[in-house]
Amino acid sequence: MYAFDIERPTTIADAVAALKSDEAQPLSGGQTLIPTLKSRLAAPSKLVSLSSISEMVGLSDEGGVLRIGGATKHDTVAKEAGGSHPGLAGLAGKIGDPAVRHRGTIGGSIANNDPAACYPAAALAHGATIVTDRREIAADDFFTGMFDTALEEGEIVTAVKFPRPEASNYQKFEQPASRFAMVGVFVAKFADGVRVAVTGASEDGVFRWTEGEEALSANFSPDALDGLSVSAEGMITDLHGSADYRAHLVKVMTKRAVAAAR
């Protein structure tokens, strides 16, 4: 770790102001950022902690849409979102281990857009809206590639809004070491169609499997996917699995998600 200053604002406005200084960076649950700092892979001069901003914490129902504050911990989502969003709650409950879930936050996960992270799949499959200190961004426009998002310098994710699906489920095939998603598939069924978002598999980060969506929109059953196959092009090959294997798993996990969707 290199030395840095830390600020703990209590309002979004103060946080945005604090982030204006050179080389400042938001710190949320620290479950990604702290390990990065410890191995000296980042050297921010100042960390702006978001965890004391009460307006960024908690779940609320906004006319059938679930709003989750950006600094809300995974454990809270796992325990409180299940009534309306069982797939989302299930996803949050399987992120990391209890220690990670009691620290890590939805805003941090979405902003980081790790290609193997779980939340981006949920946001994309729900057609969620990412709320920031200055605007609202549709999930379809937010995730712009591996570790890349539409966020501007100093922009904070203050909340994520999830419309309520008729049925949803997340199936995560774990990378054995990290237990992040080697392939994670979120399936969400809405009145106007089914959305399928895939994380862990692609070199471009989270993506929608549109062919699968079409087949499932016509017939929401695992068999509907039988004739389809997923191309291995652009899929990740690493120590833990080849592109072919990941492509294969996309279909397997999608079927399982459909079968398990509630």
Binding site: F173, P176, A177, Y245
Partner: protein, 789 residues
Amino acid sequence: MPKDTGIGASTRRREDVRFLKGKGEYTDDISTRDLAHAAFARSTVAHGLIKSIDTAAAEAMPGVLAVFTGQDFADVGGNPAGWLINSRDGTPMKEPKRPVLAHRKVRHVGDAYAAVIAETKQQAMDAVEAIEIDIEELPAIVDVKAALSGDNFVHDEIETNQCFDWGWIEDNRQATDEAIKNAHHVTTLELVNNRLVPNAMEPRSSIGAYKESGDEYTLHTTSQNPHLTRLLISAFVMGIPENKLTVIAPDVGGGFGSKIYHYGEEALVLAAAKRTGRTVKWTADRSESFLTDAHGRDHVTKIELATDADGKFLAFRTETYANVGAYLSNFATATPTFLHGTLMAGNYTVPNVYVNVKAVFTNTAPVDAYRGAGRPEATYSLERVIDKCARELGMDPIELRRKNFVKPDMYPFTSAAGLEYDSGNYDALMDKMLEVCDRDGFEARRKVSEAKGMLRGFGVNAYIEACGIAPSNLVGQLGSRVGLYDAATVRVNATGNLAVMVGAHSHGQGHETVFPQVVGEMLGIDPSTIEIVHGDTSKIPFGMGTYGSRSLAVCGSAVVRATDKIIAKAKKIAAHMLEASDSDIELKDGNFTVSGTDKSVSFGEVALKAYIPHEFPLEDIEPGLEETAFYDPANFTYPSGAYCCEVEVDPETGKVRVDRFAAVDDFGNVMNPMIVTGQVHGGLGQGIGQALLEGCRYDEDGQLLSATYMDYTMPRADDLPFFTVDHSQGTACTHNPLGVKGCGEAGAIGSPPTIVNAVIDALQSGGKNVTHIDMPLTPHVVWSAMNNA
């Protein structure tokens, strides 16, 4: 009735009270007022020539006290290999010098070429970043077979990269070749024993201190054998006289072999303490552990098994390439040879065995003994090829093994690989295993799995290993440069309590609990009045430490012998006190009694007499009650076992789940069943980790790909089933006083082939013609094997 104290009691581990409360004292917990910190500059390339190192900027940085480079150690000795191996042609192995800091050349990623000492760890790390090094990168040598034929050398003077080409037993070679040529059936298997990173929970850590007044050094370090470390530093690396160097290994959080060896960081903190006049600490971060702790296994092997038409084994022949990494770690040459080749007859009466091992230098971290050390590699090769053979012959794998087992009436049995097994009963182990694993219920469980779309497989394995290393005369003939006895001092204090100073080092094993159980039983006193002292060369007799499941078999035997001496002397004192002849004195329940009378004195009274020797026969007996014994074993000990497991394989994803596991071991007599069960659990965890999860991988440039927990899979509790562990079938070791064999490594030795055999069985049951898969059997690996079959 299970006992509640003494030998055979499942006494709770007294050391756990401090460990579980976070009150253990580990090296990194130690601090002094004058503490300074070391940080190392480590190579980011696998192989390169050091053109220049510029430390000027680093030296000028805030808080920096000293900077060291390889040049500072160019004149001191090298860290030696502990075992001389001769090649088949009679030439001695190649022994490149292993320097404290790399000089002129770096040979693996993580190889340290400079060190900074500073007031704080941060300052030391900052200054490391300011060291400028100019390296001419050379092609990396990573693959063992390619290394032997290339024109690029890890050590310039070793123009083949071969350390040795060893044959065992060379005189058996021809007969083995003949047997294979003429056999009814030969099963051949090529396999890889995957490289592992030890991953002790506590990273390595060392603190060097120097006292100018007496020219004395003290090293606190994470060691499994403080005397061995002191000997290496004194006699080979730095020339500090042994009586001027104290080595202390306080609580140590796991070693698994990786903390047997002396590492350059230990020498560095000592040299730095002298130069700066400060106490200097270094603690590895996890990345340094991955890159620089000695790794384990890493064999590429071809094994052949010849049988007759009935399945009688006629010969085993193996050819192995053993990766020793960039430098020879202290036991690196013994592990793939005498700890491996000598076990290659397994539990079997096979008449011919020939083992060839080529040890090869590569641009990777040094490889050395890791939990099991050579025996897991032997067992894996044997038990995989036997399973394949059973399938080829259409025989039941258990029956095939039984047909070839050494039988109970054959002991002592000299194996075709040259060891003399003293005791065992492999059929009894197999019988017990079949009973406790519910083999009869397997078919029903398989149907249940199949109904869920899963494939279920049953895997079996028998192993024998060699512990209690080792008879000094024998290993001396075989090339060992050390003796492998151990030592204990039993000190009875005046008030009747005891301190027992032992050469073994406990870093998780439970010696503080078990050794008092033994001594307490022998003296008939409460074990809680006995304290174990270990880990400090200024307090304990010269012992060789803890590895190879030797602590109880070797050091425990020394404890027994020293206690015998205490009893003999105490009887003399008691005889004097009771005015009897010492041959009439009996010790029972802590009292010395004149046999056939009710005249007695207690152990405590005798102890007091020894230290307040009034009316004492000083002309016959010295005062005091303290005895030392060195014990050198007569033979190895031979634990053995029968293991089985059931796995479920998901054919859609290749994911393997271990559903049941039964381990039936012969550890000889068992001193504390609970601790033995715990040792087996730990070994099984690591063995299943090797089989399914752990794969240390370098890329072709010699970069470690599995360098963090994001990519190196440690076994976690939910990867493991509930284990069925049984050690009721023990046959006592015939040559040590407690009849014990050693239990620390068995689980890691016996489990990998069990798992792989079960996965192959599952795939075969699903109609997949898969006969072998290399470990670790990750989902992707299994899925690929299924889809290529």
